[in-house]
């Protein structure tokens, strides 16, 4: 088990390094103005001096090596244009907690709701729950979120008699953003849960469990539900971690000072170092999420023999 985790970690690290190299090399192809706050006012000589000072005139492998050294020291570098010379890690540290708070609550709500809805839908295919759920899922998938987000904000704030925008001192103002964030992910979890539950419920071993006299509810909980959750478990770490990235639309609607718009902001401002740092962070989160998902899956599914899998790959 430990060996498997170690191997899996090693492979995750290699993927991450490859991503860093690709991102770094690609961003070096961007216009150099992305490294300076007041590029327009600078003379070509000033630009060249600036670039030399940043080490950007070194050969690419040297630059890459330096970047890895810097990362190894735990530094993401400083912002070039977004907030000049301000450490990127500090910018993220100020914004991420907001996104995390909203995101984690939303995921925490949508997993039980989504799984519950999915099971209800699967229990009676074509029944009332299935129809309601299908309408809901299709609505969530088909209608641009902007529309129902806006409606929710307008009528929701009116109904609750609270301000339109998020206020950190008032917990009530968190309700609507959390609902907005949960709505699509409830649909997402319900959709997969329904599908996996239907799959499991039709399997032969469920028939055998029924024939051997196990009561219906026990068959559903101990056999169908338990087994249908296994593939979902793999999705959960990723959805938890990616809440860190925040939601652009919900955060800007309620003016939550989170991570949501940051990526778009720094791309628009051509802040090369920040784009680089954020892409790497999001890549890392995804890789870690997949890794944790695999490990979680191995914990709940005895068929995944870690030792053998490590050998086979």
């Amino acid at each position: 088990m430990l060996l498997y985790i170690a191997k899996r970690l090693g492979r995750a690290l290699i993927s991450l390094c490859l991503i860093i190299v690709v991102v770094f090399v690609l961003l070096r192809q961007m216009p150099v103005e992305g490294y300076f706050a007041s590029f327009d006012k600078m003379t070509p000589i000033q630009v060249e001096n600036g670039l030399r000072k940043l080490g950007l005139l070194d050969p690419l492998p040297v630059q890459l090596l330096n970047f890895f050294k810097q990362l190894a020291q735990g530094s993401l570098g400083v912002s070039a244009r977004y907030r000049q010379n301000y450490p990127i890690a500090r910018i993220i540290a100020q914004k991420a907690p907001f996104s995390l708070r909203f995101g984690l609550i939303a995921v925490g709500i949508s997993i039980p709701l989504g799984l519950g809805l999915g099971v209800l839908m699967a229990r009676r295919k074509g029944g009332a729950w299935d129809r309601i759920g299908t309408v809901y899922i299709v609505f969530m998938q088909a209608v641009p979120s902007a529309i129902y987000y806006l409606f929710l904000q307008l009528y929701g704030t009116q109904a609750l008699n609270i301000s339109l925008l998020y206020n950190p001192d008032k917990w009530q103002t968190m309700i609507l953003p959390v609902i907005s964030l949960s709505m699509p992910s409830v649909a997402y979890f319900a959709m997969w849960m329904r599908r996996y539950t239907v799959d499991e419920a039709n399997k032969e071993y469920i028939k055998l469990a029924r024939v051997k006299g196990v009561p219906t509810m026990a068959v559903w909980f101990r056999h169908v539900f338990r087994n249908a959750v296994v593939p979902i478990v793999q999705l959960i770490p990723n959805s938890l971690l990616l809440t860190l990235a925040g939601s652009i639309y919900v955060e800007s609607l309620y003016s939550i000072p989170g991570m949501g718009g940051l990526m778009v902001d720094v791309i628009k401002r051509q802040d090369n170092t920040m784009v680089q740092a954020l892409v790497i962070i999001f890549a890392m989160l995804t890789i870690v999420g997949l890794l944790l998902g695999d490990l979680a899956m191995a914990l709940v599914d005895p068929r995944i023999s870690l030792a053998r899998k490590a050998e086979a790959r």
Binding site: K203, E204, Y205, K207, L208, A209, R210, V211, K212, G213, V214, P215, T216, R222, H223, R226, N227, V230, V300, D301, P302, R303
Partner: protein
């Protein structure tokens, strides 16, 4: 020896036992199916899957139901434990078991009275019939809990006994393993152990050896026979393999297109078959042909059960079909007190028809007593 010969040799061994248990001298009826009709709704059409089947099963007997895929063997048996698919329903008839009419059962609560404790099942494919995420021991103990009210240490002790009973060695270790750590044959043994854990009176084996390779088939057949004797079970054995049937059955019911076309004691159906469909089935047995002879295949396909069947369902494929076969459904003709067949050929007015040579050759071998020793007749 070929595998088939081994199977036959095995069958010879199985037959050396008191005749009473084989023929079911005390013919008290456990299960009585009367004029059962089952229909399915499929794409807006109604499919008549079981067309008026009547069948009695005697206590402690082994009844084999044979027929090709789609004949309705499994559908018939699913009615006995409430496993009919949701789009299917019983459209008349009764299934009497211990004073209960299973055909009238609608709710899961009704079925809970019968499932496991009375009727258990060994399913077709051992690769899929065990829960992959639970240990083998857990799955057996679950059956013990609901049918014999055994829990904890008592359940575990019984579970280990059952594993040993079905021939799984090293029970302590094996019990804590998962199904994927078992081979197909071993899994089928576990499925049988689960069925036994229910302590049933009637055990339905739905093609229990079809998914296994031939050497394992013989072992599982032997095992099913042993546990049948040890636990005093009544067996219903569904299969499309006549070779298997010859080994296990006291009586044989041949099904075609949702109907039982011939029913009789094992010897009667094998050595004195009367229905042309049974003839065709027997002729298609490879081991009965002479070397290098072309394998016999039944022409055509089974009828479309979406449409009402007129006359004898087998008539369009039947080279011996009479004109009346296409117009009127034949009644059962009695051959002996235990043997009947649904064919007009048994009508006194019917012309005399000789069964095909393959069937006749089995009969002559039987009459010469060849089958009592070596049914292969030494042409291996």
């Amino acid at each position: 020896m070929t595998f088939n010969e081994e199977l036959v040799a095995e069958s010879a061994a199985l037959r050396n036992e008191p005749a009473a248990s084989r023929t079911g001298e005390s013919r008290d009826t456990v299960l009585s199916i009367r004029d059962l009709h089952v229909r399915f709704r499929l794409r807006g059409q109604s499919l008549h899957a079981i067309r008026g089947v009547s069948l009695d099963v005697a206590r402690h007997e082994t009844l084999a139901i044979v027929g090709e895929s789609g004949a309705g063997k499994s559908v018939l048996m699913k009615n006995l434990c409430g496993l009919l698919d949701p789009n299917g329903w019983i459209d008349g008839g009764s299934i009497m078991y211990e004073g209960m009419d299973l055909a009238s059962f609608r709710s899961e609560r009704d079925w809970a009275r019968v499932r496991g404790k009375h009727i258990a099942m060994v399913t077709q494919d051992p690769m899929t019939s065990l829960n992959p995420l639970k240990t083998v021991g857990w799955q057996i103990e679950e059956a013990l809990r609901y049918n014999q009210q055994l829990r904890g240490a008592a359940a575990r002790r019984r579970m280990l006994e059952l594993l040993a009973d079905v021939g799984i060695p090293d029970t302590q270790r094996r019990a804590s393993q998962y199904p994927h750590e078992f081979s197909g044959g071993m899994r089928q043994r576990v499925v049988i152990a689960i069925a036994l854990a229910c302590n049933p009176k009637l055990l339905i084996c739905d093609e229990p050896t079809t998914a296994l390779d031939v050497t394992i088939q013989a072992q599982i057949l032997r095992l099913i026979h042993d546990i049948k004797v040890k636990y005093g079970l009544t067996l219903i054995y569904i299969t499309h393999d006549l070779g298997v049937v010859a080994n296990v059955a006291d009586r044989i019911a041949v099904m075609y297109a949702g109907d039982i076309v011939e029913l009789g004691a094992c010897e009667e159906v094998f050595f004195d078959p009367r229905h042309p469909y049974t003839w065709a089935l027997l002729s298609s047995l490879p081991q009965l042909g002479v070397k290098k002879q072309e394998l016999y295949a039944i022409q055509g396909t089974p009828p479309n059960l979406f449409q009402p069947i007129r006359g004898d369902a087998f008539a369009p494929r039947n080279p011996w079909a009479l004109a009346v076969d296409f117009a009127h459904r034949p009644p059962y003709g009695r051959v002996s007190p235990t043997h009947k067949a649904r064919t007009w050929l048994l009508d006194p007015r019917a012309p005399a028809v000789e069964p095909p040579p393959a069937v006749r050759s089995i009969r002559t071998l039987f009459e010469r007593g060849a089958f009592t020793e070596n049914p292969q007749g030494g042409n291996g």
